[in-house]
Assembly symmetry: C2
Homo-oligomer: 311 residues x 2
C-alpha cells in the first residue's frame, strides 16, 4: 500500500465576494488555482518530494498576474515590487526565506536556494539579491511585474499615507495578497511555502509574516504543514503557523481543532483577519479563513480536486 499524498494551495484571503467578481474573472481565478494545485500534485503523483511540489505550485501562482506574488506583486510607495517568500520541510526542519527582494522572477525559488545552497535561513534586501545573482537565480525587469490593475490600485493611494494589504483600490476593502502551498509526499514528508508582494504603497521595507518561519510558514512531520495569508503584523505577533503545530504536539489537538482555535478564536479576538492552509501526515486538509473569502484549492488523498473562492 502506498502512502497517502495530498496538497493544498491558497492565493490570498480577504473581502472576496461573489458580487465583486465578474463570471469571466471568477473563471480565470478558478483555472489558475486548478493549474497551480495540479502542478504540485503531478510531482507528488510521480513520487516527487513535497518540497518540489510546494515550490511548483507557488511558482505557478507567482507566474500568474492575478495573485499578489511574483508577476502580480503589488507596487510599493516608490512604484517598485518588493517581495518576500519562505519554504520549509518537515523531516529535518530545514528552511529558507527572503525578504524585500526586487526583480526576482520567483522569490520562492530563491528561498529554496537559501535553504539548499547556503548555511543560512533568512537573507534580506540587497544582500539576498546578491546571493540570487551568485546562484544565477532567474531575474526579471521591472516591466515583467507591470500589471495594469495593480498600477491603477497604486495610483489610487500613492501620495497618500494609505497602504493596502492587497489588491483592491478601496482602502476600506481588505484583501491579503499572498500565495502558498502545503504538501505531503509518498515518503510521508510535509513541506510548506509562502510568497507575497506585500502591501500596495508600502513604505519603509515593511515585512509581513510570509517570510517568517513560525509565523507565515511552518512544516514539521510530527505535526503539520502550514501556509498563512492575512494581516501579517497580527500573524507575526501570534506566531500563527507554529502555534497550530504546538497545539497539536503539546495539547494533543487534531489539525482541525488546532486550526479552529487559532483562526476562529485567537485571531478573531484581535481582529486578525485572514486564513491559512494546513495539512497533516495522515493527509487531512484544513482550509480555514475568518474573512469573506479565500482563493484556495486542494487535492486530497483520494485524488479529489477542490477549488473554492467564497465562504
Amino acid at each position: 500500500m502506498t502512502k497517502p499524498i495530498a496538497i493544498a494551495i491558497h492565493g490570498g484571503a480577504g473581502t472576496i465576494l461573489k458580487s465583486m467578481l465578474t463570471p469571466e474573472l471568477e473563471a480565470e481565478y478558478t483555472l489558475a488555482l486548478n493549474e497551480a494545485v495540479s502542478a504540485g500534485y503531478k510531482i507528488l503523483k510521480q513520487g516527487g518530494t513535497s518540497l518540489d511540489a510546494v515550490q511548483a505550485s507557488v511558482v505557478s501562482l507567482e507566474n500568474c498576474y492575478l495573485f499578489n506574488a511574483g508577476k502580480g506583486a503589488v507596487f510599493n510607495s516608490i512604484g517598485k515590487h518588493e517581495m518576500d517568500a519562505s519554504i520549509m520541510e518537515g523531516q529535518f526542519l530545514k528552511a529558507g526565506a527572503v525578504s524585500s527582494v526586487q526583480n526576482i522572477k520567483n522569490p520562492v525559488v530563491l528561498a529554496r536556494a537559501v535553504m539548499d545552497q547556503s548555511e543560512h535561513v533568512f537573507l534580506t534586501a540587497n544582500g539576498a539579491m546578491e546571493f540570487a545573482k551568485a546562484r544565477t537565480i532567474e531575474t526579471a525587469p521591472d516591466d515583467y511585474f507591470f500589471v495594469q490593475h495593480r498600477y491603477d490600485q497604486w495610483q489610487s493611494v500613492k501620495d497618500t499615507d494609505h497602504y493596502n494589504l492587497d489588491h483592491v483600490a478601496e482602502p476600506t476593502d481588505k484583501k491579503f495578497g499572498t500565495v502558498g502551498a502545503v504538501a505531503l509526499d509518498s515518503l510521508g514528508n510535509l513541506a510548506a511555502a509562502t510568497s507575497t508582494g506585500g502591501m500596495t504603497n508600502k513604505k519603509y521595507g515593511r515585512v509581513g509574516d510570509s517570510p517568517i518561519i513560525g509565523a507565515g510558514t511552518y512544516a514539521n512531520n510530527s505535526t503539520c504543514a502550514i501556509s498563512c495569508t492575512g494581516h501579517g503584523e497580527l500573524f507575526i505577533r501570534r506566531v500563527v503557523a507554529y502555534d497550530i503545530s504546538c497545539l497539536m504536539e503539546y495539547k494533543g489537538l487534531s489539525l482541525k481543532q488546532a486550526c479552529d482555535v487559532v483562526v476562529y478564536d485567537k485571531l478573531v479576538k484581535i481582529e486578525g483577519e485572514g486564513g491559512l492552509i494546513a495539512l497533516d501526515t495522515a493527509g487531512n486538509i484544513e482550509l480555514p479563513f475568518n474573512s469573506e473569502g479565500m482563493y484556495r484549492a486542494s487535492v486530497n488523498t483520494q485524488g479529489k480536486v477542490f477549488v473554492g473562492i467564497y465562504k
Copy 2:
C-alpha cells in the same frame, strides 16, 4: 504588598572560557553587565514599565564596545555594520523589529519606534533606515562603530568564505554575539528585547533569530519573556522563544522545565549551540545555556544581583 519586579540580561553565549579572558577583561565585562542590568532595574524600581527597562538595559549593552550589538557590532564582508533588533511586550503582544540596518546608534530604540509609531512589526534594510530618519532616531557615522579588535577579527577572515558567529578571530571558536534583556514590572507586565551585529564577515544580508518574533524574542504575560543568543539559523528553525512559551501554556511545564527541554535537549540534539534568558510573571529567572559560557546578569525579586560569565 507590591508586586515582584525582576530583570535579566545577556551579552552573548559561546566558547567563553576563563583561560581566554585576562583578569582585566573579565573585570570589564563584569562591570558592563552590572551597569546594564542596573540601568533596567532602576527603571523597574521607580515603577517604570518592563518595556522601558529592557530597552534601557539593551541600550547600555549596545553602547558598550565589548558586545556584538550597537557600537561593538562586528564587521560584515564589506566592512560595514549591519544590525538586527526586536522588542515585544507581554500584555497586548505588541512587537517591533528591524533587520539589516546600518548607522543606527541603538537598533533597539528603532525597533521600539516601529512598535510604538507604526502600524507594522518588522521593517528591513534601507526602508527601516528611512523610517528611522523620518522618526529622528539617533544615527552614528561608521567611525562610531569602529572597534579595533572587531576590525582585527574581520581582517583575519575577510577575503575568505569564513564567517564567524561572533567576535573571536579563530573560526573554530564559536561565540554568538547578541545582547538581550527580559523584565517584569510592578504591574505584572513582561517584556523582552534582543539586539545583534550578526556574524563577522557575513554576506548576503543574512538575518539571524534576533529580530524574529517567536524565534529570538518573545513575551507573553500568560507565560514568559525570552531573549535568545546562539546559532541563529537553528533558533529560527526551532522557533525557540515561542516554543518555551507553548511548552508552558499547552503542556503545563514550569519555566525551568520548559527551558531545560529546549536548551539542553531539543537544541543539543541539532547542535544548536547557545542559550537564552527567561522570566515568568512570578519573577522566576532562568539563564540556561549549552555552550561553554554566557555573559549574563540578573536582579531577582529579592533585589539580589547576579553576574556570571562561565559555566
